[in-house]
Amino acid sequence: MHRTREIGTDYFHKVVDCQWACPAHTPVPEYIRLIADGRYADAYMINWKSNVFPGILGRTCDRPCEPACRRGRVEEEPVAICRLKRVAADLKSDVTDRLPPPAAAPNGKRIALVGCGPASLTVARDLAPMGYQLTIFDKDTKSAGMIRSQIPRFRLPEAVIDEEVGYIQALGGIEMRFGTPIDSLQALRGEGYDAIFVGSGAPRGRDLELPGRQEAAANIHIGIDWLSSVSFGHIETVGRRVIVLGGGNTAMDCCRTSRRLGGEDVKVIVRSGFEDMKASPWEKEDAMHEDIPILNFRVPKQFTHENGKLTGVLFEVVEAMFDDKGRRKLVPSGDPDEHYECDDVLVAVGQENAFPWIEKDIGLEFDDGAMPKVDAVTFQSTVPNIFFGGDAAFGPKNIIWAVAQGHDAAVSIHKFCQGQDVAVRPPPGATLVSQKMGIHEWSYDNDVSNDHRYRVPLRDKQAALKDVRLEVELGYDLQQALAEAQRCLNCDIQTVFADKLCIECDACVDICPMDCITFTDDAPDNAQGEGDLRGRLKAPAGNLTQDLYVSGRLTTGRVMAKDEDVCLHCGLCAERCPTGAWDMQKFYLEMTYAGADA
């Protein structure tokens, strides 16, 4: 086998599953340790640098880190990474003096940003300290785009949004023009900006063109528009009986909002099976906790109405069939159609991009699906000084993706404005440092907690359902937060092996609680060799998404092969090693942001 140590920093980065899975590659274990240490502001700033909106994301993130978390593979549930992020935001002291100072003088470059959502705000955050003059345009009357308009206040209080957008505004050089929709890209180009960033999101909610749609239009609402109207105070009530169509997170926000605006009989009715719904499992759980049933395998056929007023929705009952290729198809089950009565329908069946304001003749190319052609690495469009990011670039995703893309676009915009090649990307910064403090003493707490995941306390249901602006999740209290933080396995503290020091005494093999380590005969350096090696480890390494750590040949001709899959990073291999062949070393990886590689 190839010696693992000859592979670059990606190897160690992948071991930190949460950080690898995070689009913004936030150094998760490091900030969790800081929380455990009571250093909340330090934990916040690590997040702020990496994901810009710790307080917002700590309440709303889609948390790609948590399904990846190693803890979920060694016991039942992953570490509550997202809600620990909120802890850092909730408990931190004042951080204003830690923010980058405003640029001493403008650098003479002017950038226009279309849309004031997370992608544009991230670009602005990265570019402002370097003296760029940034102008952000938004059709709404307030900042933050979908963060403010689509996420209900009972999940995300307005004060948190204002605080975190405020940190960006405080960097200076940023002008926000609200109530200013851009209706011509050509006209915007004519204003002489050095670069334009389009972060206008996916603003159009999909409609359902079914019989009765027009006739009953007064009581049929597009989910994201309706949520936005609630957010801005234009809608304050809803009918007693509400049906929400759709199975994504927007549908969950719609039904829970309805419960707070007078909806007593609120149902979510979805085409697919419950398991296949797009909504995150915890959002479905939250909806059901608020007495909202989710009915699956029902395809809407018709909006029924009487005298121009909506009376309900008619559904065809279907079931899932799988063809030879395992693709799912919904076919009629043969059961009679079902009619559900209601006063209002909220349509949350997806959202899409819309660029009616981009002229077709200015050289900006679109693909067949009417999406702009955007480079997946540089986020540059076919017009060199126009960049895209967030939902506007590759369709609807989550805030954390918009942030990650904003960082990348900011790198490109800076390079473009400095006359550098945007295709040359700065590598991330990485360090690997021993954590040994004494004979059996490490700079991290290597004792593994046996606690199960702590539930985040909720506000009393009756009180929560009375006020659409009252935050329903209370967040961890200090004791819960510290206990949850202890569940983190410190996957960034890497087990690093030095072939030359090993005497093959087996001490590490014997002590490893997870049977990760094997000394065995070498295998050929190819896929077949790796498969063979994986099969004859002390515990066969069946998780192919997790790498093997393979040493060079040792004195007996064997190699050390470690399966990273379920390593607890407890450091016992290193404590038991008589020669220091094993060492626990902290791998810290930080992305390189705009201007930092100069």
Binding site: N446, C505, A507, V509, A539, T555, L572, P578
Partner: protein, 351 residues
């Protein structure tokens, strides 16, 4: 030595045996020996062997004397019976326990100081009486607890960590066990679990006095150039005579080797020892040949390992003494106090 306990979490696919136990259930408390100690590897091998034999932990009694090796029973089989005796007296205590309760499985764990110096006589007599037990000497050839003096098994001419040459003849525990009549004799190496685990299984299944001399490098005081019990020296001079597979009565019998290359030996409990020959001429059923072979190889500086001698039809001390079949704690009052008629019969037989 570690400061934290071994985490309770284990591999999600860790197998269980027919009793529902995982290997981890046969562990004891965390070892306080030096990092890298060979004794810890032997403990791990004992844990693995007991797991594979599917022994109910409460049916095992582990006894030891004094020394680094004799501390180890605390680090395996945490749910078994244990007795830490005075220095060198483990064989007597084990003999007594065995006579009182013949239903338990006896595992004696000792070291070269405990068995070859202060307990040499005890060792010899427990072996020659054929006490049904597995006696493991964790042999590191050094007094580790007292900072590295030569022990009675240190080879003549080997060098201490300080550079002193040993001028005394080393005691060969295997040779001694063969001469004292042990009916199962093996030697192995803590750094070779593939060899050691089957030997422990076979030894535990053996009826009679089973003995394993396990060379176990002392990482702190006897793992240097000039030592004959270091990892490097033992690996370079190790001459295995055979490889052992233990097939329990419940296991499907597989023929691994061509005929002529392996010997099959059935033990009392039905277990089959399948011995794959490595040294062509070595015959593990002949005590006299075994002794000769060992001495010839030793003269060449080789360390012979493997199953060196086995007598599958051996009896034990209970057979020789004619003791009652039940353990003493299971005898009831009627059996213990048989009455005047029985006494009269005994008295009559002696007149």
């Amino acid at each position: 030595m570690t400061y934290i306990l071994k985490p309770q979490l284990h591999h999600p696919k860790l197998p269980t045996n027919s009793l529902g136990f995982t290997r981890r259930d046969y562990e004891g408390s965390v070892s306080t020996l030096c990092a890298g100690c060979g004794h810890d590897s032997i403990s791990a091998a004992i844990i693995q062997a007991c797991f594979e034999l599917e022994l109910p932990p409460h049916r095992v009694a582990k006894l030891s004397g004094i020394g680094c090796s004799s501390k180890t029973p605390d680090y395996f089989l945490g749910n078994s019976h244990g007795f830490n005796t005075v220095h060198g007296r483990m064989p007597s205590v084990l003999t007594g326990a065995n006579l009182a309760n013949r239903d338990l499985i006896y595992l004696g764990v000792s070291g070269d100081g405990d068995s070859a110096s202060i307990g040499l006589g005890q060792f010899a007599h427990a072996i020659r009486r054929g006490v049904n037990m597995l006696y493991i000497v964790e042999n590191n050839g050094v007094y580790g607890l007292t900072k590295g003096q030569f022990s009675a098994t240190s080879d003549r001419g080997s060098k201490s960590k300080k550079g002193v040459i040993n001028h005394d003849t080393g005691i060969d525990m295997v040779g001694l066990a063969l001469q004292m009549g042990a009916t199962f004799v093996a030697r192995s190496f803590s750094g070779d679990k593939d060899q050691l685990v089957p030997l422990i299984k076979a030894g535990l299944a053996h009826k009679g006095a089973a003995f394993i001399d396990c060379i176990s490098p002392c990482v702190q005081f006897n793992n240097h150039n000039g030592s004959t019990k270091s990892f490097d020296y033992v690996r370079e001079h190790n001459e295995a005579v055979n490889r052992l597979d233990v097939i329990m009565p419940r296991d499907p019998i597989q023929v691994d080797y061509k005929s002529g290359e392996s010997i099959r030996v059935q033990q009392h409990d039905g277990s089959i020892l399948s011995l794959h020959k490595i040294a062509e001429l070595y015959n593990p059923n002949n005590r006299a040949q075994a002794l000769g072979y060992l001495q010839a190889r030793q003269a060449r500086g080789q360390i012979v390992t493997g199953l060196l001698f086995v007598d599958p039809s051996a009896g034990d001390l209970h057979d020789a003494v004619g003791t009652v079949d039940a353990p003493l704690n299971a005898l009831n009052e009627a059996e213990l106090v048989p009455g005047a008629a029985a006494l009269d019969r005994i008295n009559a037989s002696l007149r």
